[in-house]
């Protein structure tokens, strides 16, 4: 606790810089659920983020599974808008990832209201890393991606709170297959359409061989104009759209 105390509430005037202002879910409950692995819905997942000079494309599969052995849901939306020009992906425990998404969206909104402008993508990713490191969301591995005054950005946030920027990044159980598709095909100056095709094909490759990934594609396109999210039951439909 700092030496600065709110004289009305007696609470620390600053709060924890690494914790969400609006509080976190109880850690104890989350841990208890996590012990019974077979009962936890997990996204397994392949989520892909690609940054280009023209914007950002994020593509994910749509499968949720129990212990990687049973497909518990075939139409999960694993990419969510959390900021006027940024999205994040849900990777890991569904409960943890959903709770994390809500928290980051609320924090992003608070920042925007207080500062009169949205966070930079770097600030958003740093915030996400701080929360993952300090909070109860221990089993998630999201991508934070978006566009700001500095350009297009893609960040991966690992379960220990590591935050890394890259031109393109993949998280989830299908990552090696998706990376194999993207390597050698990426070019920072590629068009949004080309990046969209590449991201979809990376998710499609992972869906073919990774048991945790499949059941179609959700594609998010982020430009300085905003976010567009489309869901497809089949890869072909996504490529054709």
């Amino acid at each position: 606790m700092s030496e600065f105390v709110d004289p009305v509430t007696g609470a620390d005037a600053f709060g924890d810089p690494t914790a969400p202002e609006l509080g976190v879910p109880e850690l104890a409950d989350e841990k208890q659920h996590a012990r019974d692995e077979s009962a936890v819905n997990s996204t397994g997942t392949t989520t892909v983020g690609i940054a280009t000079d023209h914007g950002v494309v994020v593509a994910t599969d749509r499968r949720a599974s129990l212990g990687g052995r049973f497909v518990s849901n075939k139409s999960v939306q694993k990419v969510e808008q959390i900021h006027p020009t940024a999205v994040m992906t849900l990777v890991g425990s569904v409960g943890g990832a959903q709770s994390f998404t809500r928290t980051l969206r609320a924090e992003s909104d608070l920042y925007e209201m207080r500062h009169g402008e949205p966070t930079s993508i770097h600030a958003l990713a740093t915030l996400a890393g701080n929360f993952v490191r300090g909070g109860p969301w221990f089993a998630i591995n999201p991508i934070v991606a978006g566009v700001d005054a500095e350009g297009s950005h893609v960040y991966s946030v690992d379960p220990a709170g590591g935050v890394m920027a890259d031109d393109y990044t993949v998280t989830g159980s299908g990552m090696q297959l998706a990376y194999g598709t993207i390597e050698g095909q990426y070019d920072r100056s590629m068009s949004i359409d080309a990046a969209r095709d590449l991201a979809i094909r990376a998710v499609a490759a992972a869906s073919e061989r990774d048991t945790g990934s499949g059941n179609g594609v959700v594609v998010a396109t982020v430009t300085d104009e905003g976010v567009e999210i489309e869901a497809f039951d089949a890869v072909d439909a996504a490529l054709a759209a």
């Binding site: 600065f4 004289p7 009305v8 005037a13 810089p17 500062h115 600030a123 740093t126 915030l127 701080n130």
Partner: protein, 244 residues
Amino acid sequence: MQENQQAYDRGITIFSPDGRLYQVEYAREAVKRGTASVGVRTDQGVVLAADRQVRSPLLETDSIEKLHRIDDHVAVASAGHVADARQLVDFARTHAQRHRLRYDEPIDVETLAKEVTDYIQRYTQSGGARPFGVALVIAGVDPDGTPRVFETDPSGTPYEWTATAVGGDRETLMGYLEDHYREDLDLGGGIALALETLAQTDTDLDADTVEVTVVDVESGRVRSLDTDEIAPHVAELNLETDDE
């Protein structure tokens, strides 16, 4: 205790029948008892200037601090209770670093000023506490390169200014600023205006006791001027005063 003194005169959280918070108004009087500080915004950066009252030749001038660096890009000038100012200065410093920890970016001046005024406000609404007897000028350059000057008062209200003065002789100094401030001032012009304004108080300016801090847009960093840099400005001003 005087018989005509009412509970609302003493209690910080109690409104008077005509809706005033006397303790906050008394805190404003405490600010008026302090020596003045001036803040000026120009397109090229912001200027803070303050005069230190050196009561004795034995006193080390540098031990009187009226201008404080808060972060790389923000500084604060104070008027009123120095000890109260130091608390708010440390609050602002801590908050600026907290923002860096949380977002990995420098805080913008407006957000910092509002965090400080929110903190000040809490001391006007809690029993057993007294308000801060100090006004601050918070000046700096935003991360996007915009120069900003804010004022905080003991009620916890934030104000943004192109140029302002806090402390003793405020009305005189504000009058001077209103007459002489120009939108097209460069940083040098801003320094000159700040010192001219300070010179409107009754005491003569001395380059050894005047403090000047600038944050220029180009570097975005706080810099305190040396006595050598202040002396020519002060010499020129004193010359003008002598002519009159």
